[in-house]
C-alpha cells in the first residue's frame, strides 16, 4: 500500500513538473507555435497509444479499429461545441462517454471472437463508423466539418494525466490482474472464475472512452475533421506505437509514441518516406524483436533492477 502511494505521488510530482516546465516555456515564448502544436499532437497520440495498450497490451484483445472510436469522439465533441454550443470540457466528457458506448456496441458482439477474427471484426466496425460519418449530412459528409480551435496545452495535459493515471491504476488493480490473466491464457482465466467477457468488454470500453477523449482534443486542434482522417491507416498508426514500444508495456508505448511523433513531424512533407520507414520498422521489429522494444517491462522495473543488480528475483520473460 505504502509503495503504491509513493509511486503515485512520484508520478504526480513528475507530471506537474513537466507541465509547469512546458507551460512556462510556451508562455515565455521559448517554444513557438510549431513546437507547442507538436507537443499537443504528441500528447494526443500518447493518449491513443495508452488507451490501445489497455486493450491489446493488457487484455490481449487485438483491435484494429481504434481510429473508429477516435472518430466517434471527434465528431461527437465537434457537434457538442459547434452545433449545441456546449463548453469544451463538457464536450470532451460527452465525447468520451459516446466513444465508450460505441465501444460497448462494438465490443459486446465482437469480443466473443478471438485473435485475427477479432482484429478483422473491429476493423470492419471502424470502417462502418467511418462510412456512417461519410454519409451523414449533419456532419458535412465527406467534405468534413469545421471546428474551432479550442485545444490548449492545459486541456491536453490534464486529459493525458487522467488517462495515464486511470489506466495505470486499473492495470494494478484486481480488475487489471484479471485482464492480464485473460491475456496470458483465456481458458485458464475462465477456469479460475474470472468473468472473461465482462473484463474484455470493460477494458474495451475504457480504452474507447479515452480514445474518444483524445478524439475531442484532436478535433479541436485541427480546425477541420474529415472521415478520411479516421481510416484504417490511422488505426495502424496507433497500433505501431503500441507494438513498437512492447505489447504490455505502458512506458514503452509512451516512449515509442514520442519517438515516432518526432520522426513523423520531421517527415511531414514526405508522407511516402514516412510510411516506408514506419512499415520497415514494423517488419524488422516483428522479425527480430517480436516483443517490441521494451517487452512487458516498465521503466520502474528497469529502475528496480538497476538498484538491486545482484541476486533477488529478476524475472524477465
Amino acid at each position: 500500500m505504502m509503495k503504491k502511494s509513493k509511486q503515485f505521488w512520484g508520478f504526480t510530482i513528475l507530471a506537474i513538473a513537466i507541465f509547469v516546465a512546458i507551460q512556462f516555456m510556451i508562455s515565455g515564448g521559448f517554444l513557438n507555435n510549431f513546437y507547442s502544436n507538436t507537443l499537443i499532437f504528441m500528447a494526443i497520440n500518447i493518449m491513443l497509444a495508452v488507451s490501445l495498450h489497455l486493450v491489446i497490451g493488457i487484455t490481449g484483445q487485438f483491435s484494429l479499429g481504434h481510429a473508429g472510436f477516435l472518430a466517434v469522439g471527434a465528431y461527437v465533441s465537434a457537434i457538442m461545441t459547434m452545433k449545441l454550443d456546449l463548453p469544451f470540457f463538457a464536450a470532451i466528457l460527452i465525447a468520451g462517454i459516446a466513444a465508450a458506448l460505441a465501444g460497448l456496441v462494438v465490443g459486446i458482439p465482437s469480443l466473443r471472437l478471438r485473435g485475427d477474427y477479432l482484429a478483422i471484426a473491429t476493423l470492419g466496425f471502424a470502417e462502418i463508423i467511418r462510412i456512417i460519418f461519410m454519409n451523414m449530412d449533419y456532419v458535412g459528409e465527406a467534405a468534413g466539418m469545421q471546428v474551432t480551435h479550442l485545444t490548449t496545452w492545459t486541456y491536453t495535459f490534464i486529459c493525458l494525466f487522467v488517462t495515464i493515471l486511470v489506466i495505470v491504476n486499473f492495470t494494478n488493480s484486481r480488475h487489471g490482474r484479471a485482464c492480464i490473466a485473460i491475456r496470458e491464457n483465456e481458458i485458464a482465466a475462465d477456469a479460475m472464475g474470472i468473468n472473461t467477457t465482462y473484463y474484455k468488454v470493460l477494458a474495451f470500453a475504457i480504452g474507447s472512452f479515452f480514445a474518444g477523449v483524445a478524439g475531442a482534443l484532436y478535433a479541436h486542434n485541427f480546425y477541420i475533421i474529415q472521415p478520411s482522417n479516421f481510416g484504417f491507416l490511422k488505426s495502424i498508426d496507433i497500433l505501431i506505437y503500441v507494438v513498437l514500444g512492447g505489447l504490455g508495456s505502458l512506458s514503452g508505448a509512451i516512449v515509442a509514441t514520442i519517438l515516432l511523433t518526432i520522426v513523423s513531424t520531421f517527415l511531414q512533407d514526405y508522407p511516402e518516406t514516412r510510411m516506408i520507414i514506419y512499415s520497415l520498422v514494423l517488419i524488422i521489429v516483428m522479425l527480430y524483436r517480436p516483443k517490441g522494444l521494451m517487452g512487458k517491462m516498465e521503466f520502474t522495473d528497469y529502475l528496480k533492477m538497476w538498484m538491486r543488480p545482484k541476486g533477488g528475483s529478476q524475472h524477465e520473460q
Binding site: 482484429a119 481458458i187 516483428m286
Partner: protein, 291 residues
C-alpha cells in the same frame, strides 16, 4: 430486364473478389495467416498488366500470363523474407508483419511512380450484345470466362496433382505431413505462388474492367476479398468462390437500389454478421477449441 444485367455485373465483380479470395483462403488454410499483403500483390499484378499492355504492346493473354508469373515470384519472395521466420511466432506478430509488408509495398510503389492513377488501355473493343433484353458487355463475359478457367485449373491442381495433395496434407496437419516426407517449406511457397498468381490475374482483369488503377487500389478489394473468404469459410476453396460471388452480387444490388455510398459498408456488415452468427463461414464446419 435490368435485374439480369445487374446480376451479371455482380457476378463479374464477384469473380474478381473470388480470385483474390482464393489466395487469402489458401494461405490461411495452410499457415493460419491473414496475408494482408495479398491486396498489394493484386495491385502489383494490375500494374504489371498495365506496363506490359501499354508499354510493351503485349496482348491480353501474354500480359495476363506475365503478370501471374511475376506475382507468383513476388508472393514467394514475401513469404520467404517476411513470413517464414514467423511460423512459430504468435498470430498477432504475424498479422502485424503482414500489415507492415502491405504498407511497405503500397508506399514503395507510390515512392517509385507517384500516387496518380493510370488509365488502363483498351485491349478489347467493348461491344455489348443483347440477351433477353439485358445489355451484356463482352468484357463481362471475358472476365467471367477467364475466372472460371482459372478456378478450374486451380481445382485440378489442388485435387489431381502431387503438389495439390501435399498442400492439402500440410493444411490438414503440418507436423504429420513433415513426417511423411513432404517438404513443408516448398509446399507453403507453392501455395503462396498459386495464390499470388491468381491475385495477379485478378489485378489485370480489374484494370480492364474498371479502366483505372492506382497504388492504393488493393486495399478495399483486398479487404472485401477477405470478407468473401470468411463468408465462404476461410480455408475452404469452393467457399471462397461462393463468398466472392455472393459479395459481388450483394454489392451490385445495394448500388442498384440507390444506396451506392453504403456499398462498402454492406461488405463489412456481412462480415460482422457472419463472424457473430457463423464464424466458420457458409461452407465451414464448427470446430471446438481444445484446451
Amino acid at each position: 430486364m435490368e435485374w439480369l444485367q445487374q446480376l451479371i455485373n455482380g457476378i463479374s465483380l464477384g469473380s474478381i473478389y473470388a480470385l483474390i479470395a482464393l489466395g487469402y483462403t489458401m494461405v490461411y488454410g495452410i499457415i493460419k495467416l491473414i496475408n494482408f499483403a495479398h491486396g498489394e500483390v493484386f495491385m502489383i499484378g494490375a500494374f504489371i498488366g498495365y506496363i506490359s499492355i501499354a508499354g510493351w504492346g503485349l496482348g491480353f493473354f501474354p500480359a495476363l500470363l506475365l503478370s501471374m508469373t511475376v506475382c507468383a515470384v513476388i508472393g514467394v519472395v514475401i513469404e520467404r523474407i517476411a513470413y517464414k521466420r514467423l511460423r512459430n511466432a504468435t498470430r498477432i506478430a504475424a498479422l502485424i508483419t503482414a500489415i507492415g509488408v502491405s504498407l511497405l509495398i503500397q508506399n514503395g510503389v507510390i515512392y517509385l511512380r507517384g500516387a496518380q492513377p493510370a488509365a488502363y488501355p483498351d485491349v478489347f473493343a467493348n461491344k455489348s450484345f443483347n440477351l433477353f433484353g439485358a445489355q451484356i458487355s463482352t468484357q463481362a463475359i471475358l472476365i467471367l470466362s477467364v475466372s472460371v478457367v482459372l478456378m478450374l485449373i486451380l481445382q485440378f491442381v489442388v485435387h489431381k496433382t502431387k503438389i495439390g495433395k501435399a498442400m492439402r496434407a500440410v493444411s490438414y496437419d503440418a507436423e504429420a505431413a513433415k513426417l511423411m516426407g513432404i517438404n513443408v517449406d516448398n509446399t507453403i511457397s507453392a501455395t503462396f505462388a498459386i495464390g499470388s498468381a491468381l491475385a495477379g490475374a485478378a489485378g489485370v482483369i480489374f484494370g480492364i474492367y474498371y479502366t483505372k488503377i492506382d497504388p492504393l487500389m488493393g486495399v478495399i478489394p483486398g479487404l472485401k476479398a477477405f470478407v468473401a473468404a470468411v463468408l465462404g469459410g476461410i480455408g475452404i476453396i469452393p467457399g471462397a468462390v461462393a463468398g466472392g460471388l455472393v459479395l459481388g452480387v450483394v454489392e451490385t444490388v445495394v448500388s442498384a437500389l440507390g444506396f451506392s455510398p453504403w456499398r462498402d459498408a454492406a461488405a463489412f456488415i456481412i462480415l460482422i454478421l457472419i463472424l457473430i452468427f457463423k464464424p466458420s463461414g457458409l461452407f465451414g464446419k464448427n470446430t471446438r477449441e481444445k484446451v
